[in-house]
Symmetry: C2
Subunit: 127 residues, 2 copies
């Protein structure tokens, strides 16, 4: 199953779906042209309302991640390879932006924060 949601996580369901779709595309688990699960089937398997899935799909289409074909399933948008790299960087920035804000708010030394991230990414894998 490509999508998993937790209704009690505090994160809106449609955002969880958008997040997972973006990561799947950026990470290569979904390629341009691949069809997505239909609104109804995905809603049924996740136990949520079809409109919630539709909202996520619609926003992803506006962001250029998905392509719409009226009356047919949505597919992953056709993206040039260089743009994929740029998109990956953009995704990374979207991840790190809010984190950087919080780090600044914490008043932590930037060098310490950067060193910690490097340790987490290259060092031992922790829970």
């Amino acid at each position: 199953m490509l999508f998993v949601v937790d209704p009690h996580s505090g994160v809106p369901i449609f955002r969880q779906l958008m997040e997972q779709a973006k990561l799947a595309v950026a990470g290569g688990r979904l390629s341009p042209g691949d069809p997505l699960p239909s609104v109804r089937s995905l809603a049924l398997s996740l136990g949520v309302n079809p409109m919630t899935v539709s909202k996520a799909y619609n926003l992803l289409e506006r962001e250029g991640v998905l392509a719409r074909r009226p009356g047919l399933p949505l597919v992953v948008a056709d993206i040039a390879p260089d743009e994929l790299g740029a998109r990956r960087l953009g995704e990374l920035e979207r991840l790190l932006g809010p984190v950087a804000d919080q780090i600044r708010e914490l008043g932590v030394d930037p060098d310490d924060a950067v060193a910690l991230l490097r340790r987490l990414l290259t060092g031992t894998e922790d829970a």
Copy 2:
């Protein structure tokens, strides 16, 4: 005037107050032992409800920024800089852990991610 709030900024008033108090402490404009404006006087000068100020003060006390003395004004907490730094690093690790997982999921080069975080932390700030 140490505190200024904008009710229309979208940022909750009590968070604006917390932010400014933390920055004042970190920046040395408030030192350990210094008293804060009373809940009522600050609320009056800002045109907000006293409970809103009290909420900010209360949260700051829980975070260890302020110290409570029943019946008397709150003062800036007396905390060893080392302890404060350690506590912040702990919070930072909880913050960066899940982010590191997602970065790995993206398949981004760790060096790129680390470099981006450094740029975000040392570069320009946002509105």
